[in-house]
Symmetry: C2
Subunit: 489 residues, 2 copies
């Protein structure tokens, strides 16, 4: 690659130079949603973070295979080894087949992800679709001696594993930490130790989603699917494994242990974790009444929200923080992001009509471009990259007001930054345009603004005011500037 | 149910009264696409036919579970038991993982189906996601003695089966027909008879998609997935199995035989088959140069097409024939359908503003409503139902011109027909409206037309002509009528 890319590796706790297993190719696995409810603000952050990662690596020249799973079985309540399957519970409550729940929420998830302008993964495997692969992985772990069968279920033997491989290496725990934070076993438990985790669970009679296995008719443990599917589609060793910080322990720690138990090593070169979103300083949670779905955000229909926020405002908001920092949601922050977003896409639209005189790239524009790349290649620092892009916005606005002269190369570079970086890598698009009817709307409104200009030229101010008034009623705001009249919805 | 619904059953070759296994609930399984290429005109017909079936049954009060599969493994070239897997071949040609091909074309298929305004199925199972279920079905058929193992593959034993159950009962063939139409076995074949079909195939070394089984590392036969998945999600006996006529033999015949071999009966109450689409009288085929994808239809980018046809024009075109008749595509027929579609949605828009005087339902409108229901409940006769709806269009246009007086109940019934039947059951929606910007476009264009009217009133014909001219350039056609000015894109 022409440029070096640096990534913070949760495993080494260091910022490392990114080097892929196969030069020029990058394999990325990201933990996707458990599809038993609508996508919320907490889903938007990893979706956008890894979308930008994939877009950036492609922009840098990598051929990327991006795998993100759909968890449709095995994820039990409270992320624990006991309790009801999250999807089966929803199915029971709504009197539907579990796969009807899966289909319903998968479609809604895809729609929300599309609105956020995230690219679909190249492969989107489902846990329930990889039962043979998961059974075979359990067998391997049993063969290596790091698991035991108990009453038809199979558990990972953490203590035995820890004698050979450090359990907790990814999340920075020691076995002692883990032990002291585990609840006591109750009598009904099949596990030897409370911190052991299920690889395969024997199904209780009322359990709906179940398959035959050498150990029992049952279902796979939640952590198992990602170990099985990442190896199937990216190979037993691959480049990047991403997910939210909330998945670091136990989910990713268990994945790493499973991989190591079955194959001798963790299999992942770079573990990447995005931080969490808080709401007005609080953790988001259903019990706290601050649980906001993406649909509620897009429509403004949650009591916490002062107004609706568009998908692009949310995308912009998320990018304004570095992915490893926490990000606090508030109406003020969202409104500021929306304003910034609009300012930036307006500048991106304005570049094309700027005057430029023949000439080479100026130092100022060269600096902006360098700053943008340096930030993105420094562990995906979108926050700093945006700050540099706002420098570009400032230049465009100065040039528009004839306070700054651009060379042809300056103009080309600005256009490149807006089309290839802002739109291509950061995925920021103009929500007002794109569809055919919006292009036509633009032309029709332009036609009306032309008529208003004529009315003004004829000193028919009653008419020009009436036009402005009528447009306002329709929902179109116009603003007269030195350069002409701008409009927005 | 309030109304009786009659359905032609391919198995009995009779139009039968529809009675579901569980009163009030209808289980429907439809064969979905093999996702190795873009959806074409041939995919649109079953998608729309079964969409209308599902919508109608829901309208009549049934709770419908609609299952449509995605074939992502096992479908070999030429629909035969030899040759390369269709998806693996595409993957090899494009140097991708087969599941990347699956993901790419599944997304595109969903997009095309959404444009055609077909509802997503309630469950969309994938063949590759149901390997254990398929292996278990093969075991059952082996246990019943209707299959044999040969060199790691498992084949269905058609002759043995035919001694107990009539093979060919669904497609109207006898074993003698089948035998005389089968090619000779060549030496390399593992089958006992050329008309036996694969339940499980041992994978050759270069085969990519493969799983362990009791017989070999291999992959399921194409027909197997539908028997396994329909039983899993609808039960071993269910109400309707639909698909294109091209799937009747061998695919559905083999499904019925598999079901019978494993469980004693075919499992399906009503087998339903839509007829084929021809292109200017010819069969559609890649080698004939008349293979038109839906995207090409929507954009007009195929040499056969004189222009682009919108998804609704295509939907309307397909509904203009009964699903069991062949349907010939031609530019003339599509253009006529588009005209009819526009006329109908215009009438649907016009009803709201019609005058009506207090009063009961007139005989004429009652007849139209009865006609529409009778047609739809008579084996889904959309063609006749549309003819009755055009009667409603005529009434609306007469009332608009004050040549006919409507009662309030007439008006309500007309509104019901357009919203509940045309839009709700037939799925015909106004493509110009719906999105926010289209509503605004409508208002903005209305504003321009108002200005043109003023110009005309002031006898400023130069200006009114200039407005029309500019609109034409933008792509908006206007038409002056007695009632005012209509516009369209």
């Amino acid at each position: 690659m022409e440029r070096d890319f640096f990534l913070y590796n949760t495993l080494s706790r260091k910022r490392e130079k990114f080097e892929t297993i196969t030069p020029g190719m990058a394999g990325i696995y990201v933990c996707g949603p458990t599809v038993y409810g609508d996508a919320h603000l907490g889903h938007a952050r990893p979706a956008i973070t890894y979308d930008i990662l994939v877009r950036l690596l492609r922009h840098l020249g990598y051929k990327v295979r991006y795998v993100r799973n759909i968890t449709d079985v095995g994820h039990l309540e409270n992320d624990a080894d006991e309790g009801e399957d999250k999807i089966a519970k929803k199915a029971r409550l709504e009197q539907l087949e579990p796969m009807e729940i899966v289909q319903h929420y998968t479609i809604r998830y895809h729609e929300a992800m599309k609105l956020l302008n995230t690219l679909p993964p190249n492969i989107e495997p489902r846990a329930s679709g990889h039962i043979p692969e998961q059974i075979s992985l359990v067998s391997k772990i049993l063969e290596s001696g790091f698991a035991y069968i108990s009453n038809g279920s199979v558990y990972f033997d953490v203590e035995t594993y820890n004698k050979k491989h450090p359990y907790g290496i990814l999340s920075g725990r020691t076995l002692e930490n883990v032990i002291s934070n585990s609840r006591e076993l109750d009598g009904s438990d099949d596990k030897k130790s409370p911190f052991d985790f299920a690889l395969w669970k024997k199904a209780t009679p009322e359990h709906i989603m179940r398959w035959d296995s050498p150990w029992s008719n049952g279902f796979p443990g939640w952590h198992l699917e990602c170990s099985a599917m990442s190896a199937k589609y990216l190979g037993e060793s691959f480049d990047i494994h991403g997910g939210g910080m909330d998945l670091l322990f136990p989910h990713h720690e268990c994945e790493l242990a499973q991989n190591t138990a079955a194959r001798g090593d963790g299999g992942v070169r770079y573990w990447m974790h995005n931080n969490m979103i808080t709401i007005n300083g609080q953790k988001m949670g259903k019990s706290l009444g601050n649980f906001i779905t993406l649909e509620e955000l897009f429509t403004g229909s949650h009591q916490i929200l002062e107004k609706a926020y568009s998908p692009m405002a949310i995308r912009f908001f998320i990018m304004q923080a570095h992915y490893r920092s926490t990000l606090d949601f508030s109406n003020e922050a969202l409104t500021a992001a929306e304003k910034g977003y609009k300012k930036m896409v307006q500048a991106a639209k304005d570049v094309a009509s700027l005057n430029a005189s023949q000439g080479a790239l100026s130092a100022e524009i060269a600096d902006i471009k360098r700053g943008v790349y340096d930030a993105l290649c420094d562990d995906l620092n979108t926050s700093v990259a945006l700050a540099h892009l706002f420098e570009a916005v400032r230049v465009v606005n100065l040039a528009k007001d004839n306070q700054l002269k651009l060379t042809t190369e300056d103009k080309e570079t600005l256009q490149f930054l807006f089309s290839e970086i802002m739109e291509g890598v950061l995925g920021i698009v103009d929500e007002q345009s794109g569809s055919g009817s919006s292009v036509i709307l633009n032309e029709v409104v332009g036609m009306i603004l032309e008529m208003r200009k004529e009315a003004k030229a004829e000193k028919n101010f009653a008419k020009s005011d009436a036009i402005r008034q009528r447009l306002t009623e329709i929902g179109i705001t116009i603003k007269d500037t030195k350069e002409g009249t701008e409009w927005s919805l």
